[in-house]
Symmetry: C2
């Protein structure tokens, strides 16, 4: 349907998209930081590791102001490829979709309104003590999710947290999910060995082995996770009782899904993963396999294609850079669904290019 | 209609309530603090002036958790009369209305999710320098209001800020509105002289005279106002372009209305004041007169009556204690409207008494 590719549980995926056609979504973006992102070679969500603290606030400023305020320009990879927030912002604007920023724990606050859940930045997971108050953050996120579920026909919940696939690997391994070599990366060359080594150091420091926290998601995220995950999972847990929730992101959503399942598996019927074609066709990761290990929920992927773009910064997405983030895939499909297909991938690309030109002054 | 009393612009008031019957509101509560509340004799929104910092966070905890967490029990006046948040909480619960807490500037953070607008607690207005970043807070509130207006059929925006009628008087006088002796009080004996003296000291310290800031609402609130007002007005300005907004409160809403009008008078067509009978029948204040001076917007008052209550803490409302706060009047009318009249004042009183009994264990 429209420009959406169905993977994992296609039956429920098509039923869901049928049901959501023309309906009104709320887009929410959970932002956070972890010191893990500053390990050299882990993250490309920033020009260099030291400025990754600015990427999440800059991303949401782009969504709500149409420009970044805490940094000049927009967040870029070390090669200069721009943030996927450009996609999200263009989709929300075209389809007039409201957004709510949720902070799970930040070093730098955005210059836009954000929902504070009492979370703090995450420590380097090699300490084995990533988070102090994950349970409180998850409980507050549930309250927020409950309230938000009464304001929209469905929720689309994205994320921005540099280093997030490494911490996702941490949570997945701590919970006993076979995730080695399966998490994605914003870099074309996925540094699996470095991620695994980082997680293994963290597990060792926490005194735990792979699978020890299969039934204890709070311990998993508190030891080797990041603040985004308990906030994201809490929103899902609070909302999916009442309305469908699209968990918008790449392989990090597998970690959030594992936490949701271990907390309250009854909401899984109302949950789908929303991502991009770049993630589900990525040969260096395996979102489909990861999700299948956890729960039989649909994966929906927006068929974005920047191959014909006149901008090298966008064309680079076809070479496997960035791939996803800031709920880009989920926001794009929500725009398509809300407009009943009037917003196609071509319409979206034109809007993205227009915004790219205006914002980057190229 | 239902148990709603119409005052000021009854024509538009009845049209509006007709239009809102059965529709879905979002309730938002703007909380903040000002050192002004600690001047002895100014505020009864707390057992004593020193603990007024806890009243706003405790109020919103009651709304979202059904109990307070940052204090034992619930906020009370020095005589032990409980917070109007009990009314708001009961109304939202009965009518299944979602809520969003907005912080305009706090000393004590609530244990529930809150939207952060970058605001800080207000200084004692006798300094003449009440706020540092009122414009930034108002701009962020506008962004929030725009987004929220896409999630509901209408907004009801309440407030909780101890000392707020004194700072409201400050703003009204700074903007040239004849407000002396007209602002309300949570005490039966309204300390008008103390409030006027406090504001006059503040105006003098700021180097301004009555009316000097008639065209400059940011200067008015920055000199002798409080953080709640620019946040509240910003939400209204952001939302009322698209959906009706009920400004829920007593005479403080006149100050917010003056700020809205001076910022963008075109939204006034979509705005009404929502309050309680206790406010519009109060002989020590004059909400109707204040609003009439500013703009011809409807005043709607919920006809709550606690005269027959079996609890002295509720009966005291009939003697002019508390009167309004935490958007009690607006939330109560939203519950009546959403339920198309099924929730009457009697139904609401029973729910309030039930919650009173459970929470205060009486």
């Amino acid at each position: 349907m429209y420009d959406i590719i169905f993977a994992n549980n296609k039956t429920r995926g098509t039923t869901l998209t049928d049901q959501l056609k023309g309906k009104k979504p709320l887009f929410s973006c959970v932002i956070g930081v972890t010191e893990t992102a500053k390990i050299p070679g882990i993250s490309a969500a920033g020009k260099n590791p030291d400025i990754t603290d600015y990427t999440p606030p800059a991303d949401v400023e782009l969504l709500q102001l149409g420009r970044c305020k805490c940094i000049p320009g927009v967040p870029v990879t070390p090669e200069g490829i721009p943030t996927p927030a450009l996609i999200t912002m263009s989709a929300l604007k075209l389809a007039d979709i409201p957004s709510l920023v949720v902070s799970a724990g930040l070093q730098v606050k955005p210059y836009v309104p954000f929902l504070d859940l009492g979370g703090k930045p995450g420590r380097d997971i090699r300490t084995g003590r990533a988070l102090d108050n994950a349970e409180e953050v998850m409980n507050r996120a549930k309250i927020a999710g409950e309230n938000l579920s009464k304001t929209a026909d469905y929720l689309v919940i994205g994320e921005s947290i540099p280093g997030g696939t490494t911490t996702a690997l941490g949570i997945l391994l701590a919970m006993g999910i076979d995730a080695k070599g399966k998490v994605s990366s914003s870099m074309p060359n996925n540094p699996h060995e470095l991620k695994i080594k980082t997680v293994e150091e963290g597990l060792k420091a926490s005194g735990a082995k792979v699978g020890d926290f299969a039934q204890d998601p709070i311990k998993a995220v508190s030891s080797v996770g990041d603040p985004m995950i308990p906030a994201h999972a809490g929103l899902v847990l609070g909302a999916a009782d009442r309305v469908p929730v699209i968990m918008a992101g790449g392989t990090q959503m597998a970690a959030a899904l594992a936490v949701v399942k271990a907390s309250n598996s009854t909401v899984l019927d109302n949950v789908a993963i929303g991502t991009t074609r770049w993630v589900i066709t990525d040969k260096t990761s395996d979102l489909k396999g990861l999700v299948a290990e956890i729960a039989d929920v649909p994966i929906l992927a927006t068929d974005l294609n920047f191959g014909q773009s006149s901008f090298d910064g966008l064309k680079a997405y076809e070479a496997g850079v960035v791939k996803e983030g800031v709920g880009a895939g989920g926001a794009a499909m929500a725009a398509m669904l809300k407009s009943k297909g009037k917003i196609t991938k071509e319409v979206l690309l034109r809007e993205i290019e227009k915004n790219y030109r205006q914002i980057l002054k190229v």
